[in-house]
Subunit: 197 residues, 2 copies
DNA sequence: GTCTATACATTGATAGAC
DNA sequence: GTCTATCAATGTATAGAC
């Protein structure tokens, strides 16, 4: 998640002068958000520490308050940002449920799985986060239904399935074949969307 | 979860004398474990506070150390106890996957859903809890396979599905019909276990 | 905008009286 | 076994120098 930061936002307007000091440097606010997202993956939303996030971003402690109103503010901004990031990489409109499920289970999505799981579990306690996720789901459901004629129940169950599959890494008691699991998931997705045209 | 405490363990051996002082009182150790489980449901495993658990159990703070070696010890005992409790109420051998899924989604299982979810998510960070869950799953899988001829992959995916469904309460953006959801889940379970004799 | 110093709350744990 | 101090560590936040 932290690897895919966007290009530098601001560009030096000076054409002449020394070689644009703010070029290879990401703005502190964005670095803080990226650091917060990393912290979510590692320690979860509700155990994230403001001090640790600040140090991760290269500044130390109280300097955060020059960029955000406080811990809650930073955390909610980071959560919103990570949600936008996530859906842009996964749930693009033209993708089928099968494709989404496959990508979701790919190895390189492990941090994203963890992130979304942490956010949802934490939402059970943090009301700000809960309403953020609610809005997100409302929006995603609406977008989904512009492409496919699925019921809200189908979409919801599909989403819950993905959340369950997000824990596939945590639980490895026995040797299981990833291919076999992917095949079973495919079957279930077929059954879930069976009556859709 | 806290409502279903067992009967009092120790019984006064005195036949004559005053009316058995330890009769209506649950042993402190057991009360602590029940309180810890309640705390898991409310705040999660890794945010559980020893002091709060103690107060919930009617004693205060340091007295916990007369019953358990410390916070980690109490928490792991409570986690183990709650797992045994959970499987005895849900995954009885003779029950079909459909029945298990239905019961799992029943209203009165909301705290149990939350509990198991919290334990699994926390297991991503707490190694003691992770190995406890691993053992539990190994055992449950072995028991399961004495009754049905499902593959380990089928059992695992079923378990992941249940974990996903555990978040059905957190996410209620739109009005969804519980019956319609149960029906979809039934379909998916059918598809998952399709090739089983 | 970033730092150091500091205030204040919460929490896990120990010591010792009863 | 339970209590009342008490300590050390962590974590959020403010104040003020630079």
């Amino acid at each position: 998640m932290a690897a895919q930061r966007g290009p530098t936002q601001r560009r030096s307007s000076a054409r002449i002068g020394r070689p644009a000091k703010d070029d290879n440097v990401v703005a502190t606010g964005e670095r803080l958000i990226a650091a917060a997202v990393d912290e979510f993956v590692e320690r979860g939303f509700s155990r994230a520490s403001l001090t640790r996030i600040a140090e991760r971003a290269g500044i130390s402690g109280p300097a955060v308050y020059k960029h955000f109103a406080g811990k809650a503010d930073l955390l909610i901004h980071a959560a919103r940002h990570s949600l936008e990031q996530t859906l842009s990489t996964i749930a693009t409109p033209s993708r089928s449920p099968h494709d989404i499920a496959r990508r979701w289970l790919a190895d390189d999505f492990a941090p994203t799985r963890r992130l979304l799981l942490e956010l949802h579990v934490a939402a059970g306690r943090e009301t700000d986060l809960a309403s953020l996720l609610t809005d997100w789901h409302l929006e995603r459901t609406a977008v989904w239904q512009t492409t496919r004629a699925d019921s809200v129940e189908q979409i919801k169950v599909f989403y819950l399935l993905l959340l369950g599959l997000a824990q596939i890494d945590s639980l490895t008691p026995l040797d299981t074949s990833p291919d076999a699991i992917a095949q079973l998931v495919d079957r279930m997705v077929d059954a879930l969307f069976a009556d859709t045209v």
